[in-house]
């Protein structure tokens, strides 16, 4: 029976599973406030009464990385703190995103000194950068809206958009297919399995 002929009740919508999952994910972001400095106060202001982050479904601040899927790094990260940041990032479950809030977290800001890490994106992946020193709460809210948009557009239910390793593997396979001297992929069971896993994703 063709889809067109099917009579659906009025309260039923048809969608792709990816799209549905993303819709759920983007509207229930649980931020992990990694607030170190001044930006942390603006982060508090964003959650407090006047700006009220709850309007965008991202007000459930949880301080346990296991419960969160959005890390907001607010403030400068220094040498002594960076291992802590990396540890907390690794403790968060996929899918997870990271907002680098403020000039210090993004680039080191005015603190071009011996102790301050010049941008956290040198050491952990970052999805959104918010400029400002510190950014106004409106800017942070805009960043969260943009991130929601990104999640809706790019997200997949298997989290393949994060799978840069698989992407590398597929790229290598293409190069090797063009090169007759490359190793024979057909006789290599490990590579074969990896290729099969990678082939389920969109070619990039």
């Amino acid at each position: 029976m063709a889809m067109n002929d099917l009579q659906l009740p009025e309260n039923v919508f048809v969608s792709r599973l990816d799209s549905l999952a993303n819709w759920c994910r983007k509207n229930s972001l649980w931020p992990m406030p990694f607030a170190t400095a001044c930006c942390g106060i603006e982060l508090m202001a964003t959650g407090a009464s006047k700006h009220d982050l709850a309007r965008f479904g991202a007000e459930v601040f949880r301080f346990s990385p296991r419960q969160c899927d959005l890390m907001i790094v607010a403030g400068r990260v220094v040498m002594k703190m960076l291992p802590v940041l990396q540890r907390i990032w690794q403790q968060m479950h996929e899918p997870k995103w990271c907002i680098s809030m403020g000039a210090c977290a993004s680039t080191g800001g005015v603190f071009d000194t011996y102790a301050v890490v010049q941008g956290i994106d040198r050491f952990i992946p970052v999805d959104m950068y918010v400029p400002g020193c510190p950014p106004r709460p409106e800017q942070l809210i805009q960043a969260i809206i943009d991130l929601q948009d990104k999640i809706q557009r790019e997200g997949t239910i298997t989290g393949r958009e994060f799978d840069t390793a698989g992407r590398q593997l597929r790229k290598r396979a293409l190069v090797e297919a063009a090169d007759p001297l490359a190793i024979d992929a057909a006789r290599n069971p490990v590579l074969q399995r990896q290729l099969a896993a990678a082939a389920t994703g969109p070619q990039s």
Binding site: F34, A35, T36, A37, C38, G40, I41, E42, M44, A45, A48, S49, K50, F63, G75, R76, V78, K80, M81, V84, I88, V110, F111, T113, Y114, A115, V116, C133, P134, R136
Partner: protein
């Protein structure tokens, strides 16, 4: 409060008769990323059940080399960095820094500038105490109180934004003056704030001051005796809650504090509750000061005159007088600027957190040779182990909140 760790009865425990009491202690790592630290500091707690036997604080998780930057930025540039020092009351840091620089230069401000700086320093004190007490409330379970406080902070942010364009990191002061004069709109907004804020403050007091849960959680917790406070170098509300009647606004009147009537708020209990009460009362006193200063705001110039050659002249002066043109030119040149003596001096103000001073060494150039900040938070946090010994784990957050530890000021 006794400083000795509580007695632990070894005979009442498990099978190993020879075990020492330390064997039954367990260690809890608290921070550096923890909701109740608010910022980045770390405590290693030694616990006996729920009781804290000892605490070892560790700091430096936000050390970003402020003092080293101070040796590379000019006196006017460095004010942007002081904003980020105690970031819940940046205006007070601005005032402290330029107070220290002007002490080094021996510069006498205009009366209007003194009054303006007094007003903004007191508004900064209010916003600092609002957040500090709000955070104590938040940590002890009173979320509404925090929201009330934060809403009023937004009003103060709004005043500052109208005043200088930045709501949070203001960088408002300059050597010999301030960046913008008060406009009628600013004065209007402060007047409105003076009218509306006491009502909110009353509401906040009604919410928390006699709240049974809050009082139970803070009274008698983290007691700091007067002698310990002085020996430990405590200043500001922490010392005043322990009965030290030291307030630089009265003891070493700087800016225009001599002209105003206000009380120094003290308590004798020295516990978290006393610190909360002192802060609540200080906000009322600050309101009095702001009110008096605003009603008696002197007319006249806000920056020191052209003859002093430190503050940038107004546009009118640059275009219409030769002194103004020369002064503007000299101050803008990279290798000119103003003259700084080869000397060193220390000057402090009563910041919301305590005595915030700068030890500035001048070497003749427009850049400080050394800009040492005397941060009140460091000395307060060093007192933490002796405040928490013998209390329970849940009291850690109450004590931390009431000391108002700001990591950026702690570590710089």
């Amino acid at each position: 409060m006794s400083l000795a760790p509580p007695e632990i009865d070894v005979t009442q425990r498990g099978p190993e008769a020879g075990a020492r009491s330390e064997d039954y202690l367990w260690t809890l790592n608290f921070g550096p990323q923890h909701p109740a630290t608010h910022t980045t500091l770390r405590l290693v707690l030694k616990l006996e059940g729920e009781r804290v036997v000892d605490a070892m604080p560790e700091i430096g998780y936000l050390h970003s080399g402020f003092e080293k930057i101070g040796e590379h930025l000019t006196f006017n540039q460095y004010v942007t960095v002081t904003d980020r020092m105690n970031y819940i009351s940046p205006m007070a840091n601005n005032v402290a820094w330029h107070h220290a620089v002007e002490t080094l230069l021996g510069l006498e401000l205009t009366p209007r500038c003194k009054y303006i700086r007094t007003i903004i320093a007191e508004l900064a004190r209010i916003s600092d105490h609002l957040l500090c007490n709000g955070a104590v409330g938040l940590d002890t379970g009173a979320f509404t109180f925090f929201l009330y406080g934060f809403y009023q902070r937004e009003v103060i942010y709004d005043i500052f934004e109208t005043l200088c364009g930045a709501r949070f990191t203001n960088s408002y002061t300059r050597v010999g003056g301030v960046s913008q004069d008060f406009t009628p709109l600013v004065i209007e907004k402060i007047r409105t704030f003076l009218k509306t804020f006491p009502k909110t403050l009353d509401d906040m007091e009604r919410l928390l001051t006699r709240n049974r849960i809050f009082v139970d959680r803070t009274k008698g917790v983290g007691v700091l005796a007067k002698e310990e406070a002085i020996a430990g170098g405590a200043t500001g509300p922490v010392a005043r809650a322990s009965g030290v009647t030291r307030d630089l606004r009265k003891d070493e009147p700087y800016l225009a504090y001599e002209d105003f009537q206000f009380q120094v708020c003290c308590a004798s209990a020295g516990d978290c509750y006393a610190r909360y009460l002192v802060r609540m009362q200080e906000m009322r006193e600050s309101l009095k000061i702001v009110h008096q200063a605003l009603e008696n705001l002197p007319a006249g110039d806000v920056n020191v005159g052209i003859d002093q050659r430190v503050a940038r002249p107004t546009k009118q002066q640059v275009y219409s007088t030769i002194e103004g043109t020369i002064s503007h030119f000299e101050l803008s040149m990279a290798n000119r600027g103003f003259e700084v003596p080869c000397a060193e001096s220390y000057a402090a103000i009563e910041a919301p957190n305590g005595e915030l001073g700068f030890y500035v060494v001048g070497d003749g150039s427009e850049t400080a040779y050394r800009a040492r900040c005397r941060p009140p938070s460091v000395l307060h946090f060093a007192l933490f182990p002796q405040l928490i010994r013998g209390h329970t784990l849940s009291d850690v957050v109450a004590v931390l909140g009431s000391l108002n530890i700001i990591a950026a000021e702690l570590d710089r």
